[in-house]
Amino acid sequence: MKVKTYLKASSIDEAYQVLQESTENAILGGGAWMKLSTKKVNTLISLDELDLKGIEEQDGFIRIKSMTTLREIETSPLIQAIGGGVITNSLSQIMGVTIRNIATIGGSIVSKFGFSDLIPVLLVLDTKLVFHKHGEISLKAYLESKIVGRDILVEVLIKKCDSLVFFKKVKTTALDFAILNICVGKTQEGFKIAVGSRPGLAELAIQSMNYLNGCHTVGEEEIAKAALMVVEEIHFSSNQRAQKEYREQLAEVYVRRGLKEVLSI
């Protein structure tokens, strides 16, 4: 990687200032995906000296500091208790342990990669992000807008969830990007369905969710209908990994299976 200067920021304010100075300056997250970009960096800003690691519980939320590695998160008992272990399930399917030892939750979110295995899960759970300048914003709002400028993600807040949340990553081999990601759960907010790697960035299937939340009871018939609705409302497309039609087939199957599992039908 072409880097002109390496700066170990001594405060988050300093890091933020230097980041604003040039669009060629960048924050060093985990560095896991650095090799994918051949771009030149003027000043690479390291947050390693700042206290941005840790997982704790507060007011019904699990608070994860942004430089916590994916491996630290997946092995945390606090995290394993959420949604029947859904976050651990998702994270443990991302590449291998070596990469998860350096990839950070901050980097995994701000990169907004369509193939992200984590984002669909965080969408289903109630997740908020805390940026240094912007402050708090829901993950959903962050993904859908460009309202947060060049900022530094400081913390990720995930609402605790006691019910089982279903996650399926459809992939070729264990080390592959997802062909499709499906996350389904019934949280305190009601039914949540997220589809990722469409191949586009993960989205919530709002209409399908509203339908289920409006149902008096949810049985096989309602589940089948909801799954078809997801295919209707979510936009899928084709890429080298799969054609649109196949993604639609997979979405229908796994939303259906996910809802059944979550409702123990």
């Binding site: 459809v170 070729t172 081999t173 264990a174 080390l175 080298q240 087939q249 199957v253 796994y254 299976r257």
Partner: protein, 772 residues
């Protein structure tokens, strides 16, 4: 047998695990010039102008080479015996570039960064030409890849570049069209196999230096050091005696290193500048600019009588050799010669086809070498035929397949580029392999399938395969055994250990014959100065060819030792009893041991250095055989497949080192599974490779491989060393057909192109449902 048929750990395993200097780049001199290649962004173009002046002006750039720097001597990069059965259709650098990734110019500079920068400063003006990107329309296309007048074949191989033809072949036995007309049941199907890549974990690399005798010394990650030396000499005009090629440990080859990669450039640069130089391919270069497996279309027709007797096989192959013709003819011929004899009792057989040029990454050698493509097509078609006949696929095979002491007329007709060699199957335990494999997979309790749940189906499928053991009358291996003081031996062999363990098993052969322990045989291999000739690691030749050479050399050494012992103990040679360490005069019980004898011969009396050498050329190529069985769980709603078990029962004669032989089979099986299910070189309609890293080219990981069961049949091939046949390739051949057959058994759909992805399976299933 004390050493043979024993699973010794490989002689180099510990040293490599401990991180010792072992692989090619470990030997590069610190101050080596870094060599990098400017590669074509166009699938087909003519270089109108190259201006390297800005690159040359950069500090630290030693030289920039273009096609203007080399005389127009066409050659082939293929590592094969001379004269090669591959066309001489490549120039060191040419004014035409023929695939995205082809070589345009070469830079040598003092560091990686400077070299990269120099590459970006070379200005090239291209005349973009219309590429040939569809191998099915390449033959007689108006766009010709190779208009050069200088290129040629070394002997007739059907080379006709005006037609975009790198090679072609035709053979027939009987009248296949007539036979088919008379058959009760005929099956006709085309099968497509994809470009697959070796992905050896060590990228291609080579470094060169001038030694103190002013000779060019190369360390190369290669499967064919002797062929490399010859090709460099012939093409660069450097006397053969001035070149030394050393192959250190190699981090995997599988055929991908059975051709030149960077050797030509570092040799030229070092020979010219006298400075050491090196090239290390990036993974992207390995994917885009080394070699792939030949993608093929195989048109199969099978005809049988309703009693299940196979009567006729017709096989046409269209093979895509990419931009250059390395291994073009031979891979294509093996698709027939090492597959069709499996059903040796047919009335008629026809095998023919064309190997065409396209503007794709060149295809080349890859384990299986045509046999895996041919096997996929034939063994799939056989199951289709069984379906039509309402006959059990195992019963059908047992009725029609090759048996011990039988032969096939194909052996005499089809060699590798030339005529073949007739041979009887002195050892063929295929029937045992089939029945034992059937037992091990639990065939009867699953075939054709069992519903496990609403979602999942369990099914089984199988295929049989054969390969070869070297190329008769062409492949030569040799060995030298030297006795040291204190009574241990050096075994010097040309044979090329690329991780398959040939150093180890060849030492085992020597140790067995010399009746000594394995640690008393020190192996040194693959150095064109210090070791005798060997064609190299390909065509499954090492165990059989190099092994026989070692055996003969060991016998010779034994003879020399007994001769000397007889002189010392003052008796006739026939009176000497030798147990590997002690020599005893049977007549008067006087003794001398090996340690004493060797010290005496080195220092004390009648001093001489005992050296025994021998060579071996095969007069036949006894095939190893295998039956492969797969058990899968398939999701009927998504097509996703889990591989539950793969059973391999192999006849390779005596497995010289059972664990290493098992490793060869299982490594091959998993590569075959990769080709069947996961791996695919994807080239866009513009000729760009978009699977040029491990993130996009998916090889099997340890999560996909849950269970492999591998057994060896009791078999003995008397022409092989201690009864052994080769085993390096046989493992890879069966998985695609076995899996296709299992999918048919599960869902009733026939998958006819590789890889058989879940998406394709669902498409086939939906199409079937529509028809019904």
């Amino acid at each position: 047998m004390k050493t043979i048929n024993q699973s010794f750990p490989s002689v180099d395993g510990k040293g490599i695990m401990m991180g010792r200097v072992a692989f090619t780049d470990d030997y590069a001199l610190q101050n080596s010039l870094i060599v990098k290649i400017l590669r074509s962004p166009h699938p087909y173009a003519k270089i109108k102008n190259i201006d390297a002046s800005k690159a040359l002006a950069l500090y630290g750039v030693e030289c920039v080479l273009t096609h203007k720097d080399f005389p127009r001597i066409p050659f082939t990069r293929a590592g094969q015996g001379y004269p090669e059965p591959s066309p001489h259709d490549k120039f060191i650098l040419d004014e035409y570039v023929r695939y995205i990734g082809d070589e345009v110019a070469v830079v040598a500079a003092v560091s990686n960064d400077i070299c990269e920068e120099a590459l970006s400063l070379i200005e090239v003006e291209y005349e973009v030409l219309e590429p040939v990107l569809n191998f099915e329309t390449a033959l007689d296309s108006k766009n010709i890849l190779h208009p050069e007048p200088e290129i040629h074949e070394m002997f007739p191989i059907g080379f006709d570049p005006k037609r975009n033809l790198a090679a072609s072949y035709h053979m027939h036995i009987g009248d296949v069209e007539k036979s088919l007309k008379e058959c009760d049941v005929v099956v006709e199907q085309s099968f497509f196999t994809q470009a697959q890549q070796h992905t050896a974990l060590e990228p291609h690399t080579v470094n060169a230096q001038m030694d103190y005798q002013d000779r060019l010394v190369l360390y190369s990650s290669t499967q064919t050091p002797f062929h490399v030396r010859r090709i460099l000499s012939q093409t660069l005009g450097i006397p053969l005696s001035k070149i030394r090629v050393i192959k250190p440990r190699v981090g995997g080859g599988f055929g991908g290193k059975q051709a030149l990669h960077g050797e030509m450039f570092v040799s030229y640069i070092t020979y010219k500048t006298k400075k050491p130089s090196k090239i290390v391919f990036t993974r992207k270069e390995v994917f885009e600019s080394s070699y792939t497996r030949h993608p093929m279309r195989l048109d199969i027709k099978l005809g049988a009588d309703k009693d299940g007797t196979l009567k006729a096989i017709d096989c046409y192959v269209l093979s895509d050799t990419g931009a250059y013709g390395e291994h073009a003819l031979t891979v294509f011929m093996v698709a027939g010669s090492k597959v069709l004899p499996l059903y040796n009792k047919v009335d008629s057989v026809r095998f023919h086809g064309h190997v065409v040029y396209t503007n794709h990454t060149p295809a080349g050698a890859f384990r299986g070498y045509g046999a895996i493509q041919g096997n996929y097509a034939l063994e799939s078609a056989v199951d289709m035929l069984c379906h039509k006949l309402h006959m059990d696929p195992i019963e059908f095979r047992q009725k029609n397949m090759m048996k011990e002491n039988e032969t096939s007329p194909i052996f005499a007709i089809m060699g590798e580029g030339t005529e073949g060699t007739a041979m009887n199957m002195e050892s063929c335990k295929l029937d045992y392999c089939v029945s034992r494999g059937k037992e091990l997979i639990g065939w009867d309790s699953i075939y054709p399938h069992k519903n496990v749940s609403k979602e999942k189906i369990r099914s089984v499928g199988m295929a049989i395969a054969m390969q070869g053991s070297g190329i008769p009358y062409i492949d030569m291996g040799s060995a030298i055994i030297k006795l040291n003081d204190d009574g241990f031996y050096n075994l010097l062999i040309g044979a090329t250990d690329i991780g398959q363990g040939s150093d180890t098993i060849l030492a085992q052969i020597a140790a067995e014959e010399l009746m000594t322990s394995l640690d008393k045989v020190i192996v040194y291999s693959s150095d064109t100065d210090l070791t005798p000739f060997d064609t190299g690691a390909y065509a499954s030749s090492t165990t059989f060819i190099s092994g026989n050479a070692v055996l003969k050399a060991a016998r010779k050494m034994k003879g020399l030792l007994i001769e000397e012992a007889a002189k010392v103990l003052k008796c006739e040679e026939a009176d000497i009893n030798f147990d590997g360490f002690n020599f005893k005069n049977k007549k008067n019980e006087s003794e001398i041991n090996l340690s004493q004898l060797s010290n005496r011969l080195t220092y004390n009396e009648d001093q001489k250095q005992l050296v025994a050498d021998s060579s071996y050329v095969g007069h036949k190529s006894p095939p190893p055989f295998m039956a492969g069985f797969i058990e899968i769980l398939i999701d009927r709603e998504t097509g996703e497949i889990e591989i539950e078990n793969y059973v391999s029962v192999v006849d390779c004669g005596t497995p010289l080192n059972p664990k290493l032989a098992q490793g060869q089979v299982e490594g091959g099986v998993v590569q075959g599974i990769g080709m069947a299910l996961y791996e695919n070189v994807v080239i866009t309609s513009k000729g760009k490779n978009i699977t040029s890293d491990f993130l996009n080219y998916k090889v099997p990981t340890r999560m996909e491989i849950k269970k492999l069961v591998t057994e060896f049949a009791e078999s003995y091939e008397s022409s092989g060393p201690f009864g052994a046949k080769s085993v390096g390739e046989i493992g890879i051949d069966t998985p695609p057909a076995a899996l296709a057959n299992a999918i048919e058994n599960a869902l009733g759909v026939r998958m006819t192109d590789l890889p058989m992805t879940p998406e394709k399976i669902m498409r086939a299933l939906k199409a079937k449902e529509k028809r019904q």
